[in-house]
């Protein structure tokens, strides 16, 4: 795994968390604010090659950042996102073959 890729990703997620908790909260849709970090983590796991482990790292970091900037205890989003990653990867590697995620 490229160290630069990891560092860039961590910085990006951190700034997205700040953006989400301080800027995006002013723009709700019917009272709800989209959790963009959660969406990004899930989408990453969907489009990534099911054999790659980077998706777990994405989920772990995203979960940690979400936990820090939310009122939940640390681990709440980490566990949820890691389980989602596991479910997606299991589904895509065993049962579903899609052309777009084989080379990413």
């Amino acid at each position: 795994m490229n160290l630069l890729k990891i560092s860039l990703f961590v910085v990006l997620i951190y700034f997205l968390a700040l953006f989400q908790s301080s800027f995006l909260v002013h723009f709700n849709i019917f009272g709800f604010v989209p959790n963009i970090i959660f969406i990004i983590a899930v989408l990453w796991n969907i489009v990534e090659n099911p054999k790659s482990y980077f998706g777990f790292f994405v989920s772990g970091i995203s979960g940690f950042v979400l936990d820090v900037f939310s009122s939940h205890t640390i681990g709440f989003y980490i566990i949820i996102l890691l389980l989602i990653s596991l479910a997606i990867k299991t589904l895509f590697s065993r049962y579903v073959r899609v052309p777009f995620n084989q080379n990413i």
Partner: protein, 264 residues
């Protein structure tokens, strides 16, 4: 053999993740405080930018309603001016009575001003830039400059504190409608909504009634503005009636809040 090695690796990975999460929870306050400390300048600017951007977009989307809103505000303004003159008379009368009775009641609070730096998008929590170092402690009430109740401090860090909004599902406290002498419990519904519960069936309440806090259970000082009733749910089968409320504060319009640290 290879399969058992893979299983072993997965087991070790799961074990490490769980251990890290448990360890992180022991230092949760320090970790969160650390992140909030160096994020604060960015968060403050983002909050201000978000507020002004949402005001700008709201003004575009609501341009059609501006005239109607202006008429309503003019009407309300006249009503309020009439009320002010009536209240000024009452204040004079009150002061005269206090002098006559030798009572010197001061209902003002000791407050600490704080700025909002963030909000939890999934729950009704906000983050303020004042913490234990500024004398803030758990359960202190948080109000606006107009004495509108916003919530109470739920977590305190060195330089930050989290506020559980009155609209949070975890929030409930005593409240009353002064003019009708009706008491009940305000419960949060989440998503910035609240309702007034446990109102006896024989009490008459209606939309527009103003609900204020009550100091009965000691959660909040009395007479802090909570909200205005929008609809009443009355069912003869149930022992109590309920009412939906609108909070008097708009989270998007808030910038500075006041934490009540004690009485004057």
């Amino acid at each position: 053999m290879a399969k058992s090695t893979k299983k072993g690796r997965i087991f070790i990975a799961v074990f490490i993740i769980i251990a890290v999460i448990i360890a992180a929870n022991f230092f949760q306050k320090n970790i969160k405080s650390f992140f909030y400390s160096f994020s604060q300048p960015i968060q403050k600017n983002l909050w201000a930018a978000g507020k002004s951007s949402s005001d700008f977009f709201a003004s575009i989307f609501n341009a059609g309603n501006l005239k109607k809103e202006n008429d309503n505000l003019n009407f309300k303004n006249q009503e309020l001016l009439a009320n002010i003159s009536r209240l000024e008379e009452l204040q004079k009368e009150n002061e005269n009575l206090k002098c006559a009775l030798g009572v010197n009641l001061q209902n003002d609070f000791k407050v600490n001003m704080a700025q909002i730096v963030g909000k939890d998008i999934s729950q009704d929590f906000i983050l303020l830039d004042k913490g234990a170092k500024d004398g803030i402690s758990k359960a202190m009430p948080v109000i606006t400059a107009q004495k509108v109740l916003v919530g109470k401090i739920s977590d305190v860090y060195d330089n930050f504190s989290k506020v559980l909004l009155i609209s949070s599902k975890e929030s409930s406290f005593d409240a009353q409608i002064r003019e009708r002498e009706v008491s009940g419990i305000i419960r949060g519904k989440g998503n910035l909504k609240i309702f007034f519960d446990l109102i006896p069936q024989d009490k008459e309440i209606s939309a527009g009634d103003i609900v204020v806090s009550s100091s009965l259970a000691g959660f909040f000082p009395s007479d802090l503005l909570v909200g205005r009733i929008t609809s009443v749910k009355r069912n003869n089968v149930e022992a109590f009636q309920q009412a939906e409320l609108n909070t008097e504060f708009d989270i998007n319009q808030l910038a500075n809040l006041f934490i009540i640290t004690g009485r004057q």
